[in-house]
């Protein structure tokens, strides 16, 4: 079957999709977007987290056909400008992850970035202030990392949220 949907603002079509195929598989194997990682294929690890119509989901648990006409956002879309030739500016969460050393092997990173980006946009980005640690931990509870012990990841999310909060504060009238 053919599936057409918007990925990171761009309309994309995948052909010959098997009806039981996951969104993750289509992104990685048919649309050339390998940022979302394939690990557990059962929603346990969060490394395939993407936005689907504005909420975060495990893309391994979405049938590709369910995405027809919908909007998907992947880790590739987090950076501000990903057009060719442009100076790729990382988003706040990506910057903070790099600074804090929140990345080791990197396999869980794409899912954590999308999930953290969602948390920050719903909290600091929405004028709700910097989330406390329990809220950060709960938001990231479905993203497994086997390298870092999570401390650096939490540090990075806290830093990114604080910056977002300050920026939102400056933008406010």
């Amino acid at each position: 079957m053919r599936v057409t949907f918007t990925v990171n603002g761009e309309r994309m079509t995948a052909d010959d999709v098997w009806p039981g195929e996951s969104l993750l598989y289509v992104l990685r194997e048919r649309l050339g977007l390998p940022g979302s990682k394939n690990a557990c294929e059962q929603g346990e690890c969060g490394s395939c987290t993407v936005y689907l119509d504005g909420v975060t989901v495990c893309s391994c648990m979405v049938a590709a056909g369910q995405c027809e006409g919908r909007e998907v956002g992947t880790v590739e879309g987090l950076a501000d400008d990903h057009s060719e030739g442009s100076e790729r500016r990382l988003c706040a969460v990506q910057e903070a992850f790099a600074e804090a050393g929140a990345v080791q092997c990197g396999f869980c990173t794409p899912g954590l970035l999308v999930q953290a980006d969602d948390l920050i946009s719903r909290t600091a980005g929405a004028g709700r202030g910097v989330p406390e640690d329990p809220e950060i931990r709960e938001a990231l509870a479905g993203n497994l990392c086997r390298c870092t012990g999570y401390e650096k990841i939490i540090d990075a999310v806290r830093t990114a949220a604080r910056r977002e909060h300050e920026q939102v504060g400056q933008e406010a009238p």
Binding site: G20, S22, Q42, G43, M61, V62, A63, G65, G142, N143
Partner: protein, 289 residues
Amino acid sequence: MEFLSPATWEEALAAKSAHPDAVPIMGGTDVMVELNFDQHRPSALLDLTRVAELAEWGPDGSRVRLGAGVSYTTIIQRLGKHAPALAQAARTVASPQIRNRGTVGGNLGGASPAGDSHPPLLAADAVIELASVHGVRHVAAREFYLGPRRTARRDDELIAAVLLPERAGPQHFCKIGTRNAMVIAVASFCVTLDAATRTAGTGIGSAGPTPLRAVAAEEFLTAEFDWQGAGPLSEAAVRHFGELVASAARPIDDVRGSADYRKHALSVMARRALSWSVTDYRKGEAQCA
């Protein structure tokens, strides 16, 4: 394999009638695991995410009608007042990503004895609305679960909604597992105190071939509790309630826990959930509910 994508409820019922073997898929959090691991290869997937009314909820006479496709995230955000135990159970489901997709309808369709929705639905005496091209019928949650992953739903039927009686008292849900997030329950328990009917309800999860009620525990509590004066329950009564709940369970030993552990955990959870509920009741929550 076919991918059926009805845009309306009528189309969905027609599709299910024409393809009784089709597996309905909403959030996909169970169905896709089976497909990804090639455990199950259905003749067709019936995608229900485009049927808008499945994701709706609202008052329905004296009850709350919860569309089968309402996500756990929405239940947590919006139904805490109407269905506190179900909202508590929803909070314990997996992770935010899964709660954004998973639905009570899917939990009922899969009918795993470990499903987190089941104990609150049993305890609150919820009703499942089933529909087919031949019409709509209502089945009490207490009569819905027939065996491991077997329910009263017929092959040509889809789960339309859950009808939750208006809450008239405290409700509490407990679940035990190895961590707070991302766990399938080792055992779970729910208790409700209904001041209007002066009855207690219970639900047990992950400790039997189906979700279960602890009927003897309900009868004991219904008779023992001071519904009028809201006097405290004796320690002995609370303990006895826990024992009755544990003895209603029919658990097995498996990778998540032993049968003995499950029974013990249930007796502890039952005591705690009851104590919290009695405290709420005594605070007068029953009157303002």
